[in-house]
Symmetry: C2
Subunit: 466 residues, 2 copies
């Protein structure tokens, strides 16, 4: 597939120092944070401009070579895996970042690390709210590709809610902008939102115009221990019905917090053995009195359930420690065992039903799960732990259990993924959420943008229809 | 085109009392609020269920008959006009409405009047923010079709930001849901957002799942007179840069407010002759002290410009009068003269440049314009007044001027429509905002959903490529 002449052309387009065929580089760009998959590209190219990306796409289109856009490789659904080999297009050189204070916008390259964008905005008194747990290492381009969320989505929305306009290189090599740099837009079909969450299968994002908002100046953070996990879930919907919109409302099962604590030696929490779960709740705004009053309302709701003494984080240090604990859970689980992570999402009130169902399904198929996530959004991450399960059961029984979990999710009017995307690992569950009619529409969209199926092939759509 | 046998089948599907071919009904369903257009459908059908809509679409598809979904006929871009005759599909019987307090959602039929939805939510302590000026007469289905905005979009977002899931009948007659009833969703291509703002050209919306939020309990409203219109525009961006996000930030040129006042006899305002424009500014929330402090911050910004004494609306009655004044401007303009309304939108800070340019272009082509709109979003409604202009100039010169206005808008990184849609009247300006590549993508999407081009044909896409 890869002739020397092709490789030579890639050298000419991107410059030889940005084309790699050596084993270590190919291996490094052959994985993301999804399980332990390894799908190295045949060649890694690191273009520097949209024009270079365009030339590469034209070449790939002509020779029908797969191209996989690769970001910071922190994805959890295998979106950046080169499952058919081909060109691994690392976007890492697209690091331009400009904060437009006058319009409360940022214009950023896809390789800018989410936290770098956040901090650049904060320096100007502005706020970019989406904050995936991997914000210190994931890039904004990947966030757009997967429509990432994070803890603050419950108040501020997800990545899609902040994307105004995208510069995109289409599989044909054409370069377009998807919309305009405006807060409102009713001008033709919404190509911007079609691109957000399309997991690098419709086009390659080379520039991103992002909405910023004024920065909230204060916050209050509290950790509330619940003796019953189901009650922690019930409290979530009750907080909103009390008229409070927290800026974060996170759920952690006992295991999640215990494993997180083991992973971080400098955080100490004295948790009673009977505590089954915690809610980590934040409110933010500009007026401390208001925040204390909202925190009181939240505690008023929580006290209707069986809870232990809450912990109020008083200092920035305490707040950072609690957030670090929450954000470390995924890593802690990973370090503990082989696992599979599902990203279920349901209407908020259905969360207790979902949690209960997951545990029952786990019993039926013989797996233990550690659940945590963005409960305010109804978004529950289900970590299925391999532990001492046999390889046979892991391969045969667990997928059946996952299918049942998704069936339950969909029956509750939820869906497969809230913020991680479908990518490689969930695609063959898509039939649970969508009928053949819907899947054919999605396939039609893919074919419209990418008739030769060269851009990130084998993602999103189930094998049966792709 | 319309055989008796076809008509008989429509009678069988929808019931004879819901099929109309009489002249008065056809005329009544042949216009919306766009200029003085009249494009009556050949037959008006008022189906009662998604299944009936499906059967009608199958029939229309088989016989290649145009079908135009018709809502409350308040549109401003001609989206509901049956420009090729055919079946006018009035959705007025889809009035179901259920508020799901537990999940902070509403499940509504497309015919529910926006204000009815708002009030049903408010009764449960919940809030549906989008509030087009026509909220008392427009329907939520039309709002979804056009991605409507309104005054509160500046803080709360537009219709698209509240749509979680849609039941849609495709041109083939297939019935699908576009997504899930969840706050977050990274599961396949975003069919929901592709449908929002597609102006009834991709499918017929038969049910809508809407996100609600807790209701803010208080607000403060002020009307600030500016001696210079350009300075009123400048103040808009400055308010955000001061860290305040108002819940409404509306701009009205002097003419707009004068014409509105003439139209409403019960509202009295004593405006100095030198005042060129007003900003109507609202802040909302749950804590009156906070709102007063934010109002002070806003006045601190405004006082950096040449302003007259602001008016603070103290009572509900005063607030309603000011809002009524703002919402009446469109009707007042309409009653005053034949006019064309453009819905320009630019990044917020560019508003003064846009306003100045519009006036210059008006001078060049000999037309007067009355400008007002949602300045906080950079969304300026430009009402071009016919007045005593000759019919010849109205038909030949004005479109040239509109083209220049849109060219200016796009050069400022803005676009043609912020919230009214493209529909029939703006479609031949689409080449200003989009290249042939983008337009072909949009055409491809249309063909994918509607290969026979039967659903609301002749809208959005320019004649040159449609």
């Amino acid at each position: 597939m890869f002739t020397d002449s092709l490789l030579k052309q890639l050298h000419l387009i991107a410059g030889s120092r940005y084309v790699f065929t050596d084993e270590p580089t190919r291996m490094a760009y052959g994985h993301d944070e999804t399980e332990d998959f390894s799908f190295p590209p045949t060649v890694v190219v690191k273009p520097g401009t949209a024009d270079e990306v365009s030339q590469i796409m034209k070449l790939a289109n002509e020779h029908v070579i797969p191209v996989v856009p690769i970001g910071a490789r922190t994805g959890l659904s295998g979106g950046a895996l080169s499952i058919h080999g081909g060109i691994g297009l690392s976007m890492e050189r697209f690091t331009s970042l400009e904060i437009d204070e006058k319009n409360l916008q940022a214009i950023t390259g896809p390789a800018v690390i989410t936290q770098v964008l956040r901090e650049a905005a904060l320096e100007k008194g502005l706020f970019y709210p989406p904050d995936p747990s991997s914000q210190g290492s994931c890039s904004i381009g990947g966030n757009v590709a997967e429509n990432s969320g994070g803890a603050r989505a419950v108040k501020y929305g997800v990545t899609k809610d902040y994307i105004l306009n995208l510069e995109v290189v289409l599989p044909s090599g054409e370069i377009i902008w998807t919309g305009a740099n405006t807060l409102k837009n009713s001008t033709g079909y919404n190509l911007t939102q079609l691109m957000v969450g399309s997991e690098g299968t419709l086009g390659i994002i080379t520039k991103i115009v992002v909405k910023l908002i004024p920065k909230p100046t204060h916050n209050v953070l509290m950790l509330i221990p619940f003796f019953k996990a189901a009650q922690a879930c019930e409290a979530v919907a009750a907080i909103f019905r009390a008229g409070v919109v927290p800026s974060a409302l996170e759920f952690m099962e006992r295991d999640a917090i215990d494993w997180g604590l083991k992973y971080l030696d400098h955080v100490n929490l004295d948790i009673k053995p009977e505590v089954e779960a915690h809610l980590l709740v934040e409110v933010d705004g500009n007026y401390p009195d208001v925040l204390f009053s909202e925190a009181e309302k939240i505690m008023g709701v929580a006290e209707q359930f069986a809870i232990d003494e809450p912990l109020f984080a008083d200092t920035e240090e305490q707040k950072n420690a609690l957030w670090k604990l929450r954000r470390t859970v995924a890593e802690a689980v990973k370090s503990n065992s082989v696992y599979k992570e599902e990203d279920t999402v349901v209407p908020r009130y259905e969360l207790p039903v979902l949690l209960k169902g997951i545990k029952q399904i786990g019993k039926k198929y013989g797996f233990h799960s550690v659940c945590y996530g963005h409960a305010g959004d109804g978004n529950l991450h289900v970590n299925i732990i391999k532990g001492d399960m046999t390889d046979e059961n892991w391969k045969v029984e667990v997928p059946k259990g996952i299918r049942e979990i998704f069936e339950l999710t969909v029956s509750l009017k939820g869906t497969l993924s809230g913020e991680h995307g479908i990518g490689y690992v969930q695609k063959n569950y898509m039939d649970i959420a969508f009928s053949p009619v819907q899947l054919q529409l999605m396939k039609g969209i893919k074919q419209l943008f990418d008739p030769k199926n060269i851009l990130n092939p084998g993602k999103i759509l189930p094998d049966a229809i792709a």
